[in-house]
């Protein structure tokens, strides 16, 4: 047996709740014992559209939180934006519907062994998995600050109970409709300079991840980012979701964001080469 996808299983998961939360849907899936293997940063791949669907590929969603309850056993929470035809179909599914899922997939956020100052940065609904991460970091004695950003207030995902897991939360919107007008990167340099950040965990659009990587480039801050690249399979066999990543010897490899990610070390991603091939840029 190989180490790739080593905890992953394909099975039927029942929807136990599907609620609209602002522009997003909060979907809770009953998954049983496998919940113990699901870590913040991991994702789930879900077949969409039913048996005769013309959509042949699974959709990948970040696992935003896991829990274990007496009534449902192990459950996963997903925050889904109904944008494409697959996510719209998923958001229409009612309680009791069984979904064909594969999980847990991908890398997880690294959790420090010592208490550190962690800054969690989320763009849009990319904030969803950060709340589950915040709870884990808090339980390890870390200080957890959070910055959330979006184009407009309606696209900010910040549940009440999630806010309790963080020491501070600041919201930035480009139109100023909620929180401060601006971007999440605006206050970041000052925070890094005064030494109040050891690790940044980020999840959101690639442009945001790149901007954070550029900012922390000359500092000692570790940047773990959850990348987003179009995937066909989610399990490492299709080679579509690759990103250029620098190896220790200085060479570049095209790594799969499904099995070598989604969580990657931001300092190793060759952001300027995304969408190109390394040979062509030399």
């Amino acid at each position: 047996m190989s180490a790739i996808n080593k905890s992953a299983q394909q099975f039927l998961a029942t929807i136990v709740s599907n609620k609209r939360v602002g522009q997003y849907h909060q979907i809770i899936l009953q998954v049983g014992e496998i919940v113990a293997a699901c870590k913040p940063g991991n994702f789930i791949a879900i077949a969409v559209g039913g048996d005769n669907s013309r959509m042949i590929l699974r959709r990948a969603f970040a696992i935003s939180r896991t829990s274990h309850t007496a009534s449902f056993g192990g459950t996963l929470e997903l925050i889904v934006a109904p944008h494409g035809s697959g996510s719209k179909w998923l958001c229409q599914q009612q309680e009791g519907v069984e979904l064909d899922v594969v999980t847990p997939l991908g890398t997880a956020f690294g959790i420090p062994t010592e208490p550190v100052n962690a800054l969690l940065v989320g763009g849009g609904y990319g904030s969803a998995p950060l709340f589950g991460l915040a709870e884990v970091l808090k339980s390890r004695g870390c200080r957890v600050d959070m910055l959330l950003g979006a184009s407009t207030g309606q696209k900010i995902y910040a549940p009440m109970e999630g806010k309790r897991a963080v020491n501070s939360l600041r919201i930035y919107t480009e139109d100023g409709s909620v929180g401060e007008r601006g971007r999440v990167t605006d206050p970041m340099w000052a925070m890094i300079e005064d030494g109040s950040v050891d690790v940044i965990y980020s999840c959101g659009p690639m442009a945001m991840l790149r901007a954070i990587s550029d900012l922390v480039n000359d500092s000692d801050v570790v940047h773990q980012c959850a990348v987003e690249e179009a995937m066909a399979c989610g399990i490492g066999i299709c080679m579509t979701c690759v990103l250029p990543v620098k190896n220790e010897n200085g060479s570049t490899s095209m790594l799969r964001s499904c099995i070598d990610g989604p969580v990657m070390d931001g300092s190793t991603v060759q952001w300027d080469l995304v969408g190109q091939i390394p040979e062509a840029s030399q």
Partner: protein, 311 residues
């Protein structure tokens, strides 16, 4: 009752079951091994490998289409030396049967690759992929040119001797597929892999430009299954004694049976594994049940059955 015989033969190589991975759709097997035992399927056909490590094409590399998808990977891979040193031994340890797929930019590169494969024991067959659509120069799609196809297969045949069966992978994107097929069989191919993906394009309505980084891509999935059935039927009709490894949009046992009835002795499953990591063993079980339900005593009885006169 006599036991049902599910085994199949491709150019002298025997396989206990007829469902295979498709080259480029299973990497080198490690990723799928979590979901089923690789030894339980017919064979693992590995991703086409070239002489040197290769980055492939820029992203985006994928677009979903109605009942299908376009891919534009461009043969990203580790290169033949790393592949033979690391991936093949691992597959053989799993007791999987291995068909190595090779791709080259020149006739000579194919021969070089064949020479390296020849030096490794335990490989069941060699797939010579002369039809990858995702190369920079469409002129490099050897299988669009009868003479170039022949020269590649001839070079590989001479290099490899009679030790390993050669399966030539062809594209349906030609005017006269049976004539290309005849040419490569005359040049020494023991079998044919039909079909590679069909060349296509998607235009992104936000950028108003081709969506894929490589502009064009290969169409796969259920959308192309009728093209595969037609191609296999035509080639089996022209070359009834040449074994065919069929592929193209198979996602169920009934789909696999269609390709077998058209003339395929084995069936590769590619894109269906992207949608479901357990697709291959599921399809294999469905096919077995279906063949028995239709009254066949063996897989071999069903191969090319659609060509028989209705009595």
């Amino acid at each position: 009752m006599k036991e049902f015989d599910f085994g199949t033969n491709l150019g002298g190589a025997w396989f206990p079951a007829p469902i295979f991975t498709a080259s480029g759709c299973a990497s080198s097997g490690k990723e799928l091994a979590q979901f089923f035992a690789l030894k339980d399927i017919g064979a693992v056909v590995t991703k086409s490998v070239m002489t040197k490590p290769r980055y492939g094409r820029p992203t985006p590399r994928m677009a979903e289409t109605p009942s299908g998808m376009l891919n534009s990977i461009g043969l990203q891979g580790p290169g033949i030396d790393s592949f033979l040193a690391n991936d093949v031994p691992w597959l053989l340890e799993q007791k999987a049967r291995v068909i190595v797929s090779i791709a080259g930019e020149t006739v000579e590169e194919y021969s070089t690759l064949a020479r390296k494969v020849r030096g490794i024991s335990g490989i069941s067959a060699l797939e010579v992929n002369i039809s990858c659509p995702n190369v920079e120069n469409r002129g490099l799609v050897f299988a669009c040119d009868p003479e170039a196809s022949r020269r590649v297969i001839d070079g590989v045949r001479k290099t490899i001797g009679g030790e390993i069966p050669i399966i030539a992978k062809l594209t349906p994107d030609v005017t006269n597929l049976p004539s290309i097929a005849s040419g490569v069989v005359d040049a020494g191919a023991d079998g044919l892999a039909l079909i590679n993906t069909v060349l296509g394009m998607v235009i992104n309505l936000e950028t108003l430009r081709p969506h894929l980084g490589g502009k064009t891509g290969g169409l796969s999935g259920p959308a192309i299954r009728p093209v595969a059935v037609r191609a296999i039927y035509q080639v089996h009709e022209a070359l009834p004694n040449t074994p065919i490894l069929g592929m193209g949009g198979v996602s169920s046992g009934r789909d696999a049976l269609e390709l077998i009835l058209a003339g395929a002795s084995g069936v590769s499953v590619g894109t269906a594994s992207f949608g479901s990591p357990t697709a291959i063993p599921t399809i294999q079980n469905e096919l077995r049940d279906l063949l028995i339900a239709k009254g066949f005593n063996s897989l071999k009885q069903a191969v090319g059955y659609a060509h028989r006169e209705v009595s």
